[in-house]
């Protein structure tokens, strides 16, 4: 039983321990691929931990895909501790896939270093309340339903999360740009390759929530800047 020397293993108690930000963190630090391997469903040593693990890996993969990473670089695999051969196959197949893509930045929708800048934004979004709240409610909403008894399919939940990822990535990217210096909606739209109308919506939302404020006027365009939050 032999396999590639390319993989490095980090021990966790359960795939349920995998925080989506650990995956984005690994890419930020230069990983070419991240595999999360745990028990089969129904056979989880921690009862239901692996279901949560799969959702966490899923959201990381979707957010990273959205910002330009090839989603084949993230893989959730399952094999029991008695399935050495299966583990070897999972690692070998994944390794082959990554080799086909090449190192991070090749085979992705963006090259380095732009890709990493974008991954950093996804990383921030994955650490924040909005995505994590819906991810945390995923199981409840798909099995028991929400407070009104509405039950959602997994497909519906993922679609909702996809839109939240879009909003969150745009919002955090705007915040990053504004931290670098005040900017107008027009310049932000050019930098982020987003329609001005969308950027305006996000900026106004940030202003309303007290994260951004008017910094001045450049010609006819209002300039915005970040309001640094006081830590209690």
């Amino acid at each position: 039983m032999q396999y590639t020397t390319d993989a490095r293993i980090i021990r966790i108690m359960c795939t349920g321990r995998v925080d989506p930000t650990m995956i984005s963190d690994a890419f930020l630090k230069g990983a070419d691929g991240v595999m999360v391997v745990g028990c089969h469903f129904g056979d989880c040593h921690y009862i239901t931990g692996n279901y949560q693990g799969k959702i966490k890996v899923g959201i990381a993969a979707r957010a990273l895909d959205y910002v330009g990473l090839n989603p084949r670089r993230v893989f959730f695999g399952q094999c029991s501790s008695a399935e050495g051969e299966r583990f070897v196959k999972l690692v070998t197949d994944f390794d082959r896939g990554i080799r086909e893509l090449g190192p991070l930045g090749t085979g992705d929708r963006l090259p380095l270093p732009d890709l990493k800048e974008k991954i950093a934004v996804a990383h921030t979004a994955l650490a924040k309340e909005k995505i994590r709240w819906v991810v945390g409610k995923f199981t409840e909403f798909t099995t028991q339903g929400n407070k009104y008894g509405e039950r959602f399919t997994e497909h519906e939940m993922w679609r909702t999360l996809d839109t939240i990822v879009m909003d969150e990535v745009a919002t955090h990217e705007i915040m990053r740009e504004l931290r670098r210096g005040s900017a107008s909606v027009k310049t932000l739209a050019l930098q982020l390759k987003l329609p001005s109308s969308h950027v305006l919506k996000y900026v106004l939302a940030l202003q309303r929530r007290g994260f951004a404020e008017l910094a001045g006027i450049d010609g006819t365009s209002p300039l915005y800047r970040v309001v640094e939050q006081k830590v209690a």
Binding site: A26, A31, I47, G49, Q52, E129, G136
Partner: protein, 559 residues
């Protein structure tokens, strides 16, 4: 004042198991160059007495405050090395293990250089994590010295008696008015031929008379909260509710018999089940010239894929009963596969054949047809249809999961298998335990079992349950969830809902609603920490920072 980190790295040759395929000398040299490492030792066998002594000596002489062993798997050796640290006065949780055997020497046997490079990376990652490790104290909790047994069938009665005879108070809760469960519906027990009802009655009497057993019939368990050592149980009987605390719980709720409506013309008269046949025996109302038994009636089909295990033996037992009562009666058993495992059951099978019982194999794609006065079956070897005379058709139906199983699984936070039977913690290592500590299972609740098997399992489950009871105090590994940032916690309860063990609860504090970890119930899976949007929870020895450092160390060269 932060204490200076002093890490000792021990690289194990494991004889030639590691040293034969990985350059351990180079690993040792490399380890010396790593941050915070002040001492490195290569051992022939780190787990041997001399290896252990070298670790202990180094902890004392070099003032090590972290120990990293690069050797085999923590599954087998982590407890040993943790113990070694403790004996030398170092907190056992300031130990980190790096697996360069399973992850390097065994799987890269032909790639010495690359395997060695990987081992270096793994050691670097282990050292990086070790620097951030924090001491942990194991968690102790007292046990309520009593038990709840759910179900008063043969499994439940046996388990209750076994625990009560050891001196523990037992609460035995049975839904029905009478003790005995399925046993009450059987005639004779195989292989002894003992009378089932009499056996059930004798066990029930022992239960009823036992001073340590509080019997609650016509009662259902409504609520269970808490964890091993301190379960709080609410049981209801009619309008009365009763609350009591127990340290352990045994689930012996049994199974139910499938009523095969719509199968093989079942009507409860000419086409009956094995249990109904036994009822005829008990009433001495059996009379038939020709009996055909059909095995796997409603089992091992698309809708119900599993084998109920016991029905073959039941059919053999009852076929012999028929032959003993009425030797002239023809008995034919139509089967797909006969399960007569073990020497004793094989004997019973042989005896049935000697007595003239005829076995005919049928194919599931062309099952037997029950018609007026006969059953037709396609004979596999003859290649043609046989007409078998039948004035009585007996269906061997499977046991199916108890109707309350889903409700009980939610009460106890334990798992069911795909057929809704209760799922044990591990098929080989924990066959009578649930994954949740302090909860055990036996008998038909787990899977169809013979009376003898149910008794063995019940005695086993009672044994397992009495281990924590006898200890009196639970010691739990401190690798559990911890609220590291109480101010950040908003008491939203997102983590509480996802915890597989009920180990989190929301409590009111001076600072408002906050989560509280119940360490004895926590298993350290980490779902809560990975979910919390305030990053207020963490897992001891698997913190975000520690895992982040491992990732950094792993990818150091890439950057």
């Amino acid at each position: 004042m932060a204490e200076k980190i002093r890490i000792g790295v021990f690289v194990c040759d494991c004889g030639s198991n590691i040293a034969g395929y990985v350059d351990v000398k180079e690993l040792a040299e490399y380890s010396r160059t790593l941050p915070n490492v002040v001492y490195v030792k290569e051992n022939l066998y780190t787990c041997s007495e001399s290896g252990i002594n070298e670790i202990k000596a180094a902890i004392r002489q070099q003032n090590l405050n972290r120990v990293v062993v690069a050797s085999c798997t923590p599954r087998t050796h982590e407890p040993l090395f943790r113990g070694t640290c403790e004996e030398a006065g170092l907190n056992p949780y300031l130990f980190e293990m790096v697996n360069i055997r399973d992850q390097c020497s065994w799987v890269h046997m032909q790639e010495r250089e690359e395997g060695t490079n990987k081992a270096k990376d793994l050691i670097r990652m282990g050292v990086a994590k070790a620097a951030l490790l924090e001491p942990q104290e194991s968690i102790k909790s007292e046990m309520d010295p009593n038990a709840l047994v759910m179900g008063g069938g043969i499994s439940g009665m046996t388990a209750a008696l076994a625990l009560a005879n050891r001196g523990y108070q037992v609460f035995l809760v049975e839904k029905q008015a009478q003790l005995g469960g399925l046993l009450l519906k059987l005639d004779k027990l195989a292989p002894s031929g003992a009378d089932a009802a009499a056996f059930a009655a004798s066990q029930a009497e022992l239960v009823q008379k036992h001073p340590k057993i509080r019997l609650m019939t016509s009662t259902e368990v409504r609520e269970i909260s808490g964890y091993i050592g301190h379960f709080k149980v609410t049981a209801a009987s009619g309008g009365n509710r009763d609350q009591f605390g127990v340290g352990v719980i045994i689930v012996a709720t049994g199974a139910q018999v499938l009523k095969p409506h719509g199968l093989f013309g079942y009507n409860g008269k000419r086409v009956i089940t094995q249990l109904e046949l036994e009822d005829l025996f008990r009433k001495d109302a059996f009379s038939a010239g020709n009996v055909v038994m059909i095995q796997c009636a409603g089992a091992r089909i698309e809708e119900r894929k599993y084998c109920s295990r016991i029905c073959c033996m039941v059919a053999l037992k009852n076929a012999i009963q028929i032959k003993e009562r009425s030797p002239g009666t023809g008995v034919r058993i139509l089967y797909r596969d006969i399960q007569a495992y073990g020497t004793e059951n094989e004997e019973i099978y042989r005896r049935a054949r000697e007595m003239g019982v005829i076995f005919i194999n049928y194919d599931v794609s062309n099952p037997p047809k029950v018609e007026e006065e006969k059953v037709t079956v396609a004979h596999q070897l003859l290649g043609r249809e046989l007409d078998l005379p039948a004035d009585l058709v007996v269906l061997s139906t499977p046991l199916v999961a108890g109707e309350d199983n889903e409700a009980i699984s939610k009460l106890l936070r334990v798992s069911l298998d795909e057929n809704k039977f209760f799922l044990e913690g591990h098929v080989k290592l924990k066959p009578l335990d649930f994954a949740t500590d302090g909860v055990y299972l036996c008998g038909n609740a787990h899977y169809p079992a013979t009376v003898r098997e149910a008794i063995s399992q019940a005695l086993g489950a009672a044994s397992r349950a009495s281990i924590p009871l006898a200890k009196g105090v639970m010691t739990v590994e401190p690798i559990v969830s911890t609220l590291v940032d109480e101010d950040a916690c908003r008491g939203c309860g997102l983590c509480v809902a996802l915890c597989p063990y009920g180990a989190l609860e929301i409590v009111r504090t001076e600072k408002g609603r906050k989560v509280r970890v119940i360490p004895v119930a926590c298993k350290g899976c980490g779902v809560c920490a990975a979910t919390c949007y305030q990053h207020a929870l963490s897992i001891n020895s698997y913190t975000d920072e520690q895992i982040g450092e491992q990732i950094s160390a792993c990818l150091e060269a890439q950057g």
